[in-house]
């Protein structure tokens, strides 16, 4: 059980301060801060027997209620990706300890986890699934840890990041301060709350400012999103690049529906420059630049709407240093970050986070960039992970799955793009016999990996070109695949 209560104390203060105002708006009802507080207290009783509560749920008011109910009970919420499968959830249970899962009824039925679900008194579609522990978890959370979030790990074991309440409260306060959020703001959050950007820009920051947090039921299609923005007077949109692209595609919604929007923030993956430009032309608004890291929280934000280059200036509480390395152009280097909202470490990978933080407390991001006019500009990445819709995927995890298939003699996974310019994982396989099919490889991945890790493209080759030390020559491989594709 967590000994620290900074996060719940901050939220309890919000409930008291803004009592009569509207706090959370779903599709069916709006909850005032007072009603939200009442439901949090009611729900905290349901979680009394669960020191560690996993959230495997899409955005909805019940997420907010149960998240703060877990904190109010003095327990530890662990925010899982809603697409995690049975194996990943079991790995988290074994590593970190999980006593209950909060999830949609349909998801509970789809998972292969024994237990009798308990419905919520205020929503029949969301259930609590008590989980029996299989012995003591391998790792114990720090006493200061108040919430855990996950990044992709290897071999189906998501890496669990621990955050102190002070770090989360600092991230939220600095976001409010740095972006000028007020009690008049109504935020429509379409990015998953387990994602760092949504978590930090929406979940607590909205309530600290006394604003409203809105959720959309159903798929985030452009017309319902635009209608909701107009009808609810939304001032801030937290979404992902695909939605912004769809909003700018021909046949999109009436631009006047978005007239009340003051901030449009894109999360997860870099926004395409032409989409940004088109959005500005159509809606008269810039999609805000932002840079954040799972391990450090939000780092930059562009306050000046007329400034279009780079990823913005450091937020309050965030410092950036550029550390030049061999091969970097003048002024460029690795981006080092120190914030007031840093993670404490990886619960199930001791020492991994610490190894990336230097003696002065700067986190070595693996991104390369430079500072121009006080703004951060990224020029590349040195890390090996693949970023698909804001989720970092370790290619070795996919290669491990496919390498276990009979007849596979070599494989490599690397980042690629589909025809819509969306990032995907491209898996290239060398098979000893010609009997292995794409469908069989895809099915093996689907059965072992979360859906977002399943390769979007699978190619077969005779041989993967490698260096003398066995590293794949990706540029050469891409050329071969392109030549093969155009010849086909």
């Amino acid at each position: 059980m967590s000994e620290a209560r900074a996060l719940w104390e901050a939220m309890a203060g919000c409930v008291d301060r803004h009592r009569g105002r509207v706090a959370v708006v779903g599709s069916a009802e709006a909850l005032s801060y007072e009603e939200l507080g009442r439901r949090i207290r009611e729900a905290s009783g349901l979680l009394r027997a669960a020191p560690h509560v996993g959230f495997c749920l899409g955005n909805r008011p019940e997420y907010v209620i149960l998240y703060f109910a877990t904190l109010a009970a003095g327990h530890l919420p662990l925010l899982l990706d809603a697409s995690f499968n049975t194996g990943e959830i079991e790995a988290i249970r074994d590593d970190c300890g999980l006593d209950a899962l909060v999830l949609e009824r349909a998801k509970a039925e789809a998972l292969d986890l024994p237990g009798k679900v308990e419905p919520l008194p205020f929503d029949d579609n969301v259930v609590i699934l008590p989980l029996a522990r299989r012995g003591e978890p391998s790792y114990e959370a720090r006493p200061t840890t108040e919430v855990c979030r996950f990044t992709s790990g290897t071999t189906g074991r998501p890496k669990c990041l621990e955050f102190s309440g002070h770090a989360v409260v600092s991230a939220a306060r600095n976001w409010v301060l740095g972006t000028g959020m007020t009690g008049d703001d109504r935020t429509l959050c379409l990015a998953a709350l387990s994602n760092g950007l949504a978590f930090n820009t929406s979940l607590l920051s909205t309530f600290l400012a006394g604003g409203e947090l809105h959720f959309l039921k159903g798929a985030p299609l452009t017309r319902p999103v635009a209608r909701r923005i107009a009808e609810s007077g939304i001032t801030r949109l937290i979404a992902f690049p695909t939605l912004y692209r769809n909003l700018t595609a021909p046949g999109g919604p009436d631009p006047s529906l978005l007239a009340g929007l003051r901030h449009a923030i894109s999360a997860g993956a870099p926004l395409w420059p032409d989409v940004r430009e088109e959005f500005r032309t159509l809606y008269g608004l810039d999609v805000s630049d932002y840079y954040g890291i799972a391990e450090t929280g939000p780092v930059t934000f562009e306050r000046d709407a007329s400034h279009h280059a780079g990823l913005g200036q450091p937020l309050p509480g965030a410092e950036i240093r550029i550390a030049p390395g061999p091969g970097d152009e003048p002024g460029a280097g690795e981006v080092l970050v120190r914030t007031a909202s840093m993670a404490s470490g990886y619960l199930n990978h001791p020492g991994l986070f610490e190894a990336r933080v230097d003696a002065e407390g700067f986190y070595h991001s693996g991104d390369r960039g430079r500072i121009v006019d006080g703004r951060l500009h990224l020029v590349g990445r040195t890390q090996d992970h693949i970023n698909v819709a804001g989720r970092k995927i370790d290619p070795t995890e996919i290669v491990a799955v496919v390498s276990a298939l009979a007849g596979v003699t070599d494989a490599v996974a690397f980042p690629d793009e589909d025809l819509n310019r969306e990032a995907l994982v491209h898996l290239v396989v060398v098979a000893a016999s010609g009997e292995l099919t794409r469908a069989a490889v895809a099915e093996a991945c689907r059965s072992r990996l979360a859906s977002y890790k399943v390769p979007g493209r699978i190619s077969f080759v005779q041989e993967i070109p490698r260096t003398g030390v066995g590293k794949p020559r990706l540029a050469m491989l891409r050329e071969q695949l392109n030549a093969k594709g155009s010849a086909a």
Binding site: T242, N246, A249, D418, L419, R421, S451, G456
Partner: protein
């Protein structure tokens, strides 16, 4: 709806699925109208694009929360039947 119109609609929907999937599905894999699109690579992002495409192309707004059973989106033939029904056209 006559047979020619239905064949034309099927072709348009096959194209919409191909575009929605960003080319991750090969056009030859879409030939059979009965293939489960989820097993050949239509992921959640692809479905989001497909729903946008169906709405813009056929004026069919699909609210997944109103539909308990989503199998009408699982194959090309099911999508054709759904669009025809939504548009009030006789199959």
């Amino acid at each position: 709806m006559n047979e020619d119109a239905q064949v034309a609609m099927k072709k348009r929907i096959q194209r919409l699925v191909y575009i929605a999937a960003g080319g991750k599905i090969r056009e030859e894999d879409l030939g059979s109208g009965e293939t489960d699109l989820r097993t050949i690579g239509l992921d959640s992002l692809g479905y989001l694009n497909l729903l946008e495409g169906l709405e813009r192309t056929f004026g069919v707004a699909i609210d997944l929360d109103q539909e308990e059973d989503h199998s009408f989106l699982h194959t090309i033939d099911n999508i054709v039947r759904y669009v025809v029904a939504q548009r009030g056209e006789a199959a």
